[in-house]
Symmetry: D2
Subunit: 355 residues, 4 copies
Amino acid sequence: MGLFIGGESMIVVMEPRATREQIDAVVKKIQEASLGTHLSVGVERTVIGVVGDSHTKELLRQSLEATSGVERVVPILQPFKLVSREFKSDNTVVDVKGVHFGDGSVAVIAGPCSVEGLEQIIATAKAVKAAGAVMLRGGAFKPRTSPYSFQGLEEEGLRYLAEARKETGLPVVTEAMDAYQLQLVTKYADMIQIGARNMQNYTLLREAGRAKYPVLIKRGPSATIQELLLATEYVMNEGNYQVVLCERGIRGFDNYTRYLLDLSAVPVLKELSHLPVIIDPSQGTGKRKYVSPMSRAAVAAGADGLIIEVHPDPEKARSDGPQQLTPEHFRTLMSELDPLAKALGRRMQAPLLTR
Amino acid sequence: MGLFIGGESMIVVMEPRATREQIDAVVKKIQEASLGTHLSVGVERTVIGVVGDSHTKELLRQSLEATSGVERVVPILQPFKLVSREFKSDNTVVDVKGVHFGDGSVAVIAGPCSVEGLEQIIATAKAVKAAGAVMLRGGAFKPRTSPYSFQGLEEEGLRYLAEARKETGLPVVTEAMDAYQLQLVTKYADMIQIGARNMQNYTLLREAGRAKYPVLIKRGPSATIQELLLATEYVMNEGNYQVVLCERGIRGFDNYTRYLLDLSAVPVLKELSHLPVIIDPSQGTGKRKYVSPMSRAAVAAGADGLIIEVHPDPEKARSDGPQQLTPEHFRTLMSELDPLAKALGRRMQAPLLTR
Amino acid sequence: MGLFIGGESMIVVMEPRATREQIDAVVKKIQEASLGTHLSVGVERTVIGVVGDSHTKELLRQSLEATSGVERVVPILQPFKLVSREFKSDNTVVDVKGVHFGDGSVAVIAGPCSVEGLEQIIATAKAVKAAGAVMLRGGAFKPRTSPYSFQGLEEEGLRYLAEARKETGLPVVTEAMDAYQLQLVTKYADMIQIGARNMQNYTLLREAGRAKYPVLIKRGPSATIQELLLATEYVMNEGNYQVVLCERGIRGFDNYTRYLLDLSAVPVLKELSHLPVIIDPSQGTGKRKYVSPMSRAAVAAGADGLIIEVHPDPEKARSDGPQQLTPEHFRTLMSELDPLAKALGRRMQAPLLTR
Amino acid sequence: MGLFIGGESMIVVMEPRATREQIDAVVKKIQEASLGTHLSVGVERTVIGVVGDSHTKELLRQSLEATSGVERVVPILQPFKLVSREFKSDNTVVDVKGVHFGDGSVAVIAGPCSVEGLEQIIATAKAVKAAGAVMLRGGAFKPRTSPYSFQGLEEEGLRYLAEARKETGLPVVTEAMDAYQLQLVTKYADMIQIGARNMQNYTLLREAGRAKYPVLIKRGPSATIQELLLATEYVMNEGNYQVVLCERGIRGFDNYTRYLLDLSAVPVLKELSHLPVIIDPSQGTGKRKYVSPMSRAAVAAGADGLIIEVHPDPEKARSDGPQQLTPEHFRTLMSELDPLAKALGRRMQAPLLTR
């Protein structure tokens, strides 16, 4: 048995016919990065371990991959840090004005896809609170696939959200799509949402990291788990550790649902990261009739919460009507989730009494 | 308001610059198929409704799509029949020697990925029965990606399965990959499994349809919901209505799980079809640690059952060790599922008393 | 044969058991939108045509989908306008300081992934020009998956690009990720790149639409063709019609390439839209060795141009080294493309003489 | 620099908190498989190299992945052998009655989707030969998604194919879906096609391996490159080395094409394997209008040939009419491919003179 005390951060697999010169060039490049090498010469392949860790290892990895004679480079350590369980082993609990994500309870955020008027948002806020929601959602700036769709009430919408919070006490989460909107959102709301289409908008992620506000970051429809965690790393790297992750459906190939809700992301994310994970079954399925079964499934899979679209009159909604629940339907769902949470040894988080 | 008494089975959308001759050709073709037409002439597009249904409408659809000037053909009616809720509105209950799929209870099938020996399968059967499984699984003919992997004990494996049934009373499901194997499977087992890789093996589907045995059909990793239902239609079209559908993970783009378990397939399939739907969280995730959360989620989403891989010593398994549970782990999972089912107003199906 | 003079913009398919009341509600909703209806009552389904077009039809579509009794709504007209062949039937030629995209010739943009220094960018610009490139690329603001990767030289990089243009006469394209960067990019460069990760950054798209600069818009890795065209519609809707589309690889499930280069997007986009389409084989495959075959294939598929990463020393590149060509490799590729273009009845566009 | 003479076939990455006992268990398991170990102990992770190769290494890999404390196992050597470039470095040339695949020329197979009658197949064979096709295709056994679609003329169709060969001298390729059909196919045709839906039908692959007939194996729509090569390994492992690989479109998420034609598979497969690679642009796009551009692109990407659907009257075709070319359209395409091949330093293979 060969024994080596080292600690490899990545492993370079050379091509079958790599020459001595190519191997030497790889070794030299690793040593120039002030890292050690560990050479294993085989009949078919030579394998070179990179010994030691470095904040420039990502650059080294790319450089090695670009080197002639290299077949591939296998990273041993995860590319993310602050977000990882290895960095922080216990669950992070994110506190949004008394609402807790990650403490073992199930926190339900609800509200309309878009804020459409003061009356609409206040009525919805009251209804969802009555049914047990602990936070209010509602889009004021709407990312719409088509420029001809309703784009949101903008600052007016934010003011209405603040009014609804005043009426119900429910903290508010709403999306910002650029630095200007983000500033407005932090003025009126309690949690900043980074939408799926902006998951890799690094300017925005950094701004959200600098804001001293909790952030809800949604996975992009083609984002790998690793890309979601690295996007989150952008926020945390600016010093903001109050982040909740959200799976909201990835791109699938079947048309019966709008997106493909990836519930296995719940246990995978909770294993890799200490951050809370919630599920958006409304966006994730795009159809009202699938929201209840997927909400139940999300809670059973271990999600820390849900974000559900509820509209007083979905048929009249100015966006995403097909996936919004009526208040009545939402009430029924909440009444189903309560015994379910208990059966799982958990509990539904209740709206704060003081409200 | 235009009013028309007709009943369109499909709608032909013409290209923006379709000529009068092209429109006439489409109309003629529909009429030759003894179906009516319903022409709607607009400024930008002409739309032609095909009025009436016919068993040759699939052929007509393809012919129309191939006709010049046609942009696309939109089917109005579903392409499947026997499998559909429209054909049969109440749930089908599939009875496998007293085990029921589709009656509202949760039926759990468990057992090793592969049958590896008599002792192994009997020990597993006893252990899973003790934990509450109602049926035994175990592969005798194994579809393996590599020809250098273990291919199963074949008929010997089937004999061992029959022995294990004798010992425990648990009915047995096992996979057949061709007509010869299918004949053997029906000799020893109680339910025929059509594996994901053979979901569109039409020869096999027809053979399974002719066998008077219950069939478990697994969704292929790139199969749409519609393709799964049409594959099932092959079985039912031969007169065999005892079919259970199984989602076992589709092809995703993330490597943290082996496949992407599509739990939204549960409510979608149960809406479109009257057949029972079960989930395979072992194949669907490929990793032991995700089996429990995804099993719970499957039940919460409304699955009629689960099929779970359990091995007395997964580290020594001859196939798929990483995803097999130990009997102990399985017992814990079953004890979690019981209160969960109750909270959902359902119950775990228990092994038959007479066994 | 039913005949109806109308012109349907969408068709509402009712559920099999839709009631008379539900049908009436749909009809009423359509009429309230000042559009006509065209009812077709069948044995199994009722189908309702929406007659007439309207700028609010997208909202109506969503509202109808949210209406009870509706199974689905089938749009007949495309949701995009300005970008479509129906709006403008002849090819748009985008002129970037004398470089033409869409005139039938093949225009090749080349340069490093990132601008790393003045010397590097000038050397690359000279080398790619000598080999036949007509435009220079190079990232000054880099969207990187990890916050720990090199993020670009920012304004300094833009200044170097402008220097390289002065030296070689090659117009410059470079990416902007937010409004502030966009302003800087228009100060130094000749064409604004909207990167794949920002394809649905609507704030940025609108800003690019307001700038009087040509725009290169890259398809996001999970974006459908329709989403790409709708994103482009955002730019054009602000009055900027100088847009080049770029396919750069979508999310696939195989790891031998980094992304899955979708070359069928070339004929599909050129059929649906009048805008030029180019291909990025460097991002699209992620590996140097596949750049040449996929460049040839792109030209053969009808692409109006290519954007290729070239670095004087890819092994030392600060980003994406594995996919960058050496100047020598690029020269060889260009010498292969020349006879290929001729064989297709096309020509390689040459760098302007005055440069 | 650590130096080690060994030759690792795989590398075991332990979990961050793996215990000494877990590491020992892994080492013991490797040694029991008569392979060496090479331990590298780091601060964050321990990495264990498996030294030496063995035909049971696939089993060992799975066993190690199932072992507690193991995070993942990274294979260093490819899992396939006979199919690989490492096994045979020069290109395999497959000879089908004088037609050569893999000799640098472009071989075009053409014919209808389905054999529909004697006249139809003879007319098509003559037309495609006149245009330059060197082999005839045509389905006698049709794998159809729906049981209600035309399933082929079966043995009668094979007889017609043999007649068409007699008339034109074109060798014939046609699909078999089970052992019985395969026997008939070898009686009448010159090359066995394994269709995409049967790519992992291992019974069929083994039968094809035992037949002394050239095999055309199509990539399944969700198959990775590695799975395609392992499926081919089943054929070769039975002693049949006359195999041509075919990419025919994978499952994508966009509906403008039926499948997503993955042209990067051409250079990837030709790098990994010595076998010829052809492209099916008809299945791969599903639409006639995209067949020409994608055929040109396939040749430019380096494909050894094409298989194209041609029907005398596509609008009357009994299957896949929308994607079949008319003889005239095919003639035009062939006349475009000729100069293209020459520009690439290749040539179109011509039908044999003796025919």
